[in-house]
């Protein structure tokens, strides 16, 4: 059955330019379908992620479109259906957890079980407490809980009524990195256990890739791409997506010089540089952009076999090395082409090469690692 969303909604976002803060209007215009899977809504702040959640949950009314969850119509502009919040069977964990401060954990969870018999209600609370491994918190008040505990109680409360869909709005943003990682893994298991669609908002790249069955990339109110983490990572469809996933060496000056059916690869001409890529469906003459993740480059010392004539290998001068702890960021100026690349490689690897500023080296960009769109 799944969840079908196809809505339009005007929303406002505060934008600060210098001293003044202005409110800018955006149009959220999205259409997607999800099944029993964990979908991460990924995008910068202001991209309309929370507005989308508010529309699905009924806190705000969209300007037009349809929302259907498990075959139940939540919203349909044409048929004038706008189900009240209370009638929509979904769980929502707010960024701030929104635990009721004057109720203990048990009362908080019971709040969503008003029509349940007393006995089954008590059973359900215990079931939720054990599902999230927080049995010992039953009688505590929210002010007596740590951030991670609050987060788990909020999850238990949202899941207690047995929702058809779970919305999680940056549930980990206020937590320490350690607890974050731990809870991220738990959520993944939880989704398998409860078997309902889960929509998860984050603007943390690592979290998105760790959790998602599929990632929905949102930017400026529009769906930029909707696909598996691998699709998003290796085949971003446009510059917005490429930048969001951390692709930093992006060049827009390329066109497809030739396409080789046999090796299913294309040769791009980017300025005076030729580079071979794994294209999706390019035709010769297409204008394209290409880029590579700073982590995906390989550095070689000159004379180590792969010379400039090898495919996707270029000689370059090291123009700077910045120490970033476990990694080092190296800025490279290509010797024969007017291009600057940034690589980020394990410190240990860079140290073995004994590279220093001004040295000549070889940059190798494996065809499968080069991203073109």
């Amino acid at each position: 059955m799944g969840v079908k969303v196809d809505i339009r909604k005007c929303y406002h976002e505060a934008e600060s330019s210098g001293k003044r803060e202005t409110r800018k209007a955006f149009l959220l215009d999205v259409s997607f379908e999800i099944e029993n899977e964990l979908v991460v809504l990924f995008g910068p702040s202001g991209s309309g992620k929370t507005t989308l959640f508010k529309c699905i949950s009924g806190i705000t009314e969209p300007d037009g479109g349809k929302i259907t969850v498990d075959g139940k119509v939540y919203y349909n502009k044409d048929k004038k259906i706008n189900l009240p919040i209370q009638k929509r069977n979904l769980g929502y964990v707010f960024q701030s957890y929104t635990l009721f401060p004057h109720m203990n954990v048990r009362k908080n969870i019971e709040c969503g079980l008003k029509s349940w018999e007393k006995e089954s209600r008590e059973e359900r609370v215990m079931e939720m407490l054990s599902l999230l491994h927080i049995e010992e918190l039953e009688t505590r008040y929210p002010s007596q809980l740590s951030g991670g505990q609050k987060q788990r109680v909020a999850m238990a409360r949202a899941l207690a009524p047995g929702p058809e869909l779970l919305l999680l709005d940056e549930p980990f943003s206020a937590l320490d990195k350690e607890i974050r990682t731990e809870l991220t893994e738990k959520i993944k298991n939880l989704q398998n256990k409860i078997g309902i669609p889960v929509l998860f908002i984050t603007h943390n790249l690592e979290e998105a890739f760790l959790l998602a069955d599929r990632i929905l990339v949102l930017h400026g109110g529009k769906v930029q791409q909707f696909g598996t983490p691998d699709e998003i990572f290796y085949h971003p469809e446009n510059r917005h997506v490429a930048e969001l996933i951390g692709l930093s060496n992006i060049f827009d000056d390329a066109w497809v010089e030739g396409y080789d059916e046999a090796s299913r690869s294309a040769v791009l001409k980017s300025g005076d540089l030729r580079i071979r890529v794994n294209p999706l469906n390019f035709k010769p003459g297409d204008k394209v952009s290409w880029g590579i993740h700073p982590e995906n480059m390989t550095l070689l010392l000159p004379g180590s076999g792969s010379e400039d004539k090898d495919e996707n290998t270029y000689s370059a001068y090291v123009s700077s090395i910045i120490n970033k702890g476990p990694k080092k960021k190296i800025t490279l100026k290509l010797a024969r082409h007017n291009k600057v690349l940034a690589a980020e490689l394990p410190a240990q690897f860079v140290d073995t090469l004994k590279l220093s500023t001004g040295d000549l080296c070889l940059v190798k960009m494996e065809m499968s690692k080069v991203v073109a769109f």
């Binding site: 919040i85 209370q86 769980g91 929104t98 009721f100 401060p101 004057h102 008003k114 949202a158 009524p161």
Partner: protein
């Protein structure tokens, strides 16, 4: 002598208690509507409820006499139903006290409700709770301190009410002679001894109210 003290004390507390009860029920409701709803003419309605706070008591008294007097809209209605007028009864004193103390409750409670996080209410709606249930279960309990403070203020204001009460309920011994009014008439009659005692009692009640408000305000706040 003792009746000259005990009756005014009793009738004053009685009027203030009834008035405060009415103020609590209607004031919290009005405050919730003002805090959580948008409607046309809301600012006008807010102004109307707040007006008695700044109007001279005689003006309030005069307007109320017009409203509940024999020829007034409300007065006629009551006369037709009960066959008796309201003016110069303790009920009239309750109306006067209610009118002047309502804005104190509405203002204080409204401010307290407005700072309750709306997301908490949405969370309750999403858990299937109606607006009424959410107000009773979440919003009002979280605004409790503001509401209690408003109640104490309203009670104190009702205890001290003088001008409008005098015009509406008069000064009928054994019927409508509240503390404030008794002090005034004792002073006019030169009965300083009685005036002194009544003044001391009123000061005591006022101090008690302030202490109570302070206690409510200092009570531990919920951490969110």
């Amino acid at each position: 002598m003792s009746d000259q003290i005990w009756f005014p004390l009793f009738i004053t507390l009685w009027i203030a208690a009834i008035s405060s009860l009415l103020v609590l029920c209607s004031g919290v409701f009005i405050a919730y509507i003002f805090a959580r709803r948008d409607f046309r003419g809301k600012e006008l309605a807010e102004l109307f409820v707040t007006l008695p706070l700044i109007l001279p008591p005689t003006v309030i008294g005069y307007l109320l006499v017009i409203l509940v007097g024999k020829n007034g809209f409300l007065g006629q209605l009551v006369y037709n139903v009960l066959g008796t007028g309201i003016l110069f009864t303790w009920q009239a004193a309750v109306i006067a006290a209610y009118t002047v103390s309502l804005p104190l409750m509405v203002r204080t409670a409204q401010a307290a409700i407005e700072i309750v996080d709306k997301e908490l209410e949405y969370a309750a709606y999403i858990l299937g709770r109606t607006e009424l249930e959410t107000a009773l279960l979440i919003t009002l309990p979280l605004a409790k301190r503001g509401i209690l403070a408003g109640l104490v203020l309203s009670f104190a204001r009702a205890v001290g009410e003088f001008g409008a009460t005098l015009m509406l309920a008069g000064n009928i011994p054994g019927k409508t002679n509240t503390m404030s009014i008794s002090i005034y008439s004792a002073f006019q009659a030169g009965n300083n001894e009685l005036a002194n005692i009544l003044v001391l009692v009123l000061i005591f009640i006022s101090l008690l109210s302030i202490a109570l408000t302070g206690k409510i305000a200092s009570r531990g706040k919920f951490e969110v």
